[in-house]
Symmetry: C2
Subunit: 189 residues, 2 copies
Amino acid sequence: MEQTQRRRGAELEAVLLDAAWDELMESGYTRFTMEAVAARAHTGKQVLYRRWKNRAELVISAMRHRNGSIIEDIPDTGNLRDDVLAILQRMADRFESVGPEVVHGLLAEAPDLDPEVYSRMTGVMETIVQRAAARGEIPTGDVPERVLTAPTNLLRHEMLLAREPVAASTLTSLVDDVFLPLVRTSAPH
Amino acid sequence: MEQTQRRRGAELEAVLLDAAWDELMESGYTRFTMEAVAARAHTGKQVLYRRWKNRAELVISAMRHRNGSIIEDIPDTGNLRDDVLAILQRMADRFESVGPEVVHGLLAEAPDLDPEVYSRMTGVMETIVQRAAARGEIPTGDVPERVLTAPTNLLRHEMLLAREPVAASTLTSLVDDVFLPLVRTSAPH
DNA sequence: TCTCCTTAGAGACGATGCGTCTCTTACGGT
DNA sequence: ACCGTAAGAGACGCATCGTCTCTAAGGAGA
């Protein structure tokens, strides 16, 4: 009956991160406690604190462990509109897998995290736009950064403040009403 | 030495809200405690809890008490660009008066608040754009909502995620690179 | 002017959960 | 076979939440 087997190293770490993720899904961020994670993993709190400085770090690790790292294969559908839609859809999916409460909790407790979060997308959009320019879809690939990041930033804003699942029409509206008009007419420099 | 005068009604309430505001400025949101507010106001916690359900409500009341309610005199400079810049500048000022830490704290603890926060601007922008159309500055006042709210939403996104004072160049870039190009070319419906 | 009723002011209280400390003992390395 | 690291378990001190209790101030009404 007694399980005297002690977990170690990577095996133990995976168990801890899975327990943390499950706890996060069940209780959300504000009711996410180290005690509960430890209990769920049948271990003590010290085992957690030996690896992560605090709640926030454990939650971030758990999310990364579950969802993998940031997207680095850039969509290439051969079509600007679909490329951007694909990016936005990925962001929405990712956001929905954790929910707004968790994101707000992290934003409040782990302030150092957010610059990283949103500067990552610029490069992706740049590549997408340059490909579109090379195909002749738009007049130039030299688009102001403000325009490049507009759709992803607007989506992020929407996800953070309207705490509902993002409608598909939101994504198309961002692309058709805002992004495409801008890149079609944007003058270089 | 003993102050036996008891404050009452509106007078007391003002003292409590001032104490809360001072505490918020000094300690920020995460270290803002009801105990400290009560002590600063030379009263007991019950006096606070009799008026506000919890921390978040007290903080919101204190902010409203200090900064007045939302902006309802719409800028009218006779010029679309300056009108929008004025709105954005007001948002930035308001945000800076409390700082990102407080806003994130509230967003995490008072989820019901945010729809109100960001839906308020739509009407303001609508009026500004319609005036500009009436002056003949832009082809039509019938601008998609997504475009109307783009500059304020992008600014809010920036304030929430880049925890630095907003640069003046950010505001002009939002207007010149994003908003004006969109309203100049936007086709109705 | 006296009485009564609300509530200010003050602090104790139980509950929760953080992050630290301590203790025993499993188990992998040498 | 030995030893040192760290797992598993839980006690601990601290902070702070929100509730409860008590005394007496001072306004309202007779």
